[in-house]
Assembly symmetry: D2
Homo-oligomer: 153 residues x 4
C-alpha cells in the first residue's frame, strides 16, 4: 500500500527512537530502510543470538518482527506521538539458519488510534554456489497504538 | 493442571537444553523453576535489555514468554524428543518497568503432536515502602510441536 | 480479578446490546451470566452449527470466544461507550463434541482505551453414567477497544 | 506462491468436505474458487448474520477466515488426510459493512505436519455511482494440521 507521512521528518524521528533502544544495539540490529508505512531491520549472525542448534533464536526473530512493525507504524504518526505495541502473533515457519536476519514490515491499516502491520522475517544464507539465498522464516501480525502528545524516550 | 512427566529426568533434560542456548546466557536468563507442565524463567534488569524509556524491551518479554512455554512443554515430552515453537501470540499489558522479569508458563494441553501453553509475564519492582511488588505485564498463548526421535541441540 | 463497574446498569446495557445482535439469535446463543469483568455465553447443540464430523463448528467456537470477551469488557465501560473487537487469537484444543458450548471470558486488564480478555470455551457432554462432563475445547486472548461517546447499535 | 497438488482430485475433495459442513450452509457460504494452495469463500448479506449495527458479525468474518485457510491447506494434502485448524489470529480492521464478504486464503508454508495460511477478508459494497467497491476488513494467520490416514467426515 502507498502511504504519505504527515511528518516530513519521519525518517529522522524513527532513527532517533531506534537509536535510543539499548536492546537493538545489544543484538546488533541495524535500521536498514524506512519509508512511509514500511520499515526494514537487519541483524547479522553472532553466536550470542542463537539457540541450541546454532540458529537465530526465536526471541531475536520475534524482537525484529515486533520492532520493524513498530517503526513502520511510527513513520505515519504525528511528530509528537509515540508508539507502543499492543500485541503481536508470530508464526515460525522455518529455522533461522543463516548469516543474517531481515525483518520487513508494512502497515496494513493506519487508524486514528490503532495501526495494524504485517511483518515477514527472512534469513539469508550463502548457497553452495556462492549465491545468497533468502528464505522466509517467520510471519507476524502486529497491532500498535499511537500515544498522542507523548514524547518518545 | 496436574501432569506427570513420562521422562523422570525431565528437569535435567530441560536444564541441559536451556544451557545450550547462548541467547539465554546473553540476556542473563535464569531457569528458575521447572516441574511437570510448568516452567519459570527470570531475567534481571540490565541497561542492555531496555527500550527507549528504560523499561524491559518487548523483545525480551516475548523471548521469555516463548522460552518458558517451550520448556514447560518439554518437561512432558519423551526423553528422545525435541521441542519447537510453532507460533505464539503476546499481549503487552503494562510497561516492563522494574528490576526483574518473571515468566511463568503452564501447559494447557499436552497432545500427541502439539502442546498448548499459557505464559504470564510479571515485572518486579520495589515499592516506596521497600516491599517488592509483582505486576503482570504480558500474557501469551503458545503452540509447540514435539519432534520425536530428534536430539535436542 | 475483582472489578467494579462504573455504570450500575451494566448488566442491562450488556443484555440490550446482546439482544440487538441477530447473529446471536440465529445460532441460539444465550447470555447466561454477566458480572463486572466477566461474561458467560451458552449455545446448545443443533445440527446447523456443526462441521463435517457433527461437532460444533470452529466458527461457532470463535464467535463465542470473541463475543463473551466483548461483553466481559463492556461491563466495565462507561454508559455511553460502545465496544469493538480489535483482534483475537484462538487455540482449538479438542473437538467441540457435545450438547452445549460454554464460553467464559474474564477481563485481564481494563485500560483507558484497550481491554484484554481471556476466554475459555468448554463443551458439555453427557457421560455414559449420566453425569455431565465439561471439557475445555478452546482458549482465546482478545483485545477490545472502548469507543467513547458512541451509542451501541 | 505456486504449489502443486499431490492429489489431482483435490478440488472435488475440498468441495465434498465443504458440502458436509452444515454450518457453511446455514450461513449461506459458497465455495467460490479453489486451486492448489488457495481457497476463496463468499457469503452474501442476510440480516441473520449481523451484529447490532447491521454489519456482518465478527463471528462470520472469523468463520470465513478460518474455513478458507483450512481448505487452502487441504488442497495440498494427500487424498486420505483430513485437516484441522490448530489456531488462528484475526485482526478486524474495518466494519463488515456491505453486501458480501469474501475470504481469500493462501498457503504460506505447506509442511509435513503443519501448514500456515494467510487469509484476507474483504467486504463488497456498492458505491454511490453504482460501482462495487471492495474493502479489506480483516486479516488472519492460521495454523493447520494434516491428519494422515483419517477420512474427512
Amino acid at each position: 500500500m502507498d502511504f504519505t507521512a504527515q511528518d516530513i521528518d519521519y525518517a529522522e524521528r524513527v532513527k532517533g527512537s531506534f537509536d535510543r533502544q539499548p536492546f537493538m544495539k545489544y543484538i546488533g540490529a541495524e535500521l536498514f530502510a524506512v519509508r512511509p508505512g514500511y520499515c526494514e531491520i537487519h541483524v547479522g549472525y553472532k553466536k550470542e543470538l542463537t539457540q541450541q542448534h546454532g540458529y537465530f533464536h526465536a526471541g531475536v526473530i520475534g524482537t525484529l518482527a515486533d520492532n520493524a512493525a513498530g517503526y513502520a507504524a511510527y513513520t505515519l504518526m504525528s511528530a509528537d506521538s509515540s508508539v507502543l505495541t499492543v500485541e503481536y502473533k508470530l508464526n515460525l515457519m522455518s529455522p533461522g539458519e543463516g548469516e543474517k536476519l531481515i525483518a520487513r514490515s508494512e502497515v496494513l491499516k493506519y487508524g486514528k488510534t490503532l495501526t495494524i502491520c504485517r511483518s515477514d522475517i527472512y534469513v539469508i544464507k550463502s548457497g553452495p554456489n556462492g549465491y545468497r539465498e533468502e528464505k522466509i522464516c517467520a510471519v507476524a501480525q502486529v497491532t500498535l497504538i499511537e500515544l498522542k502528545n507523548q514524547q518518545d524516550g
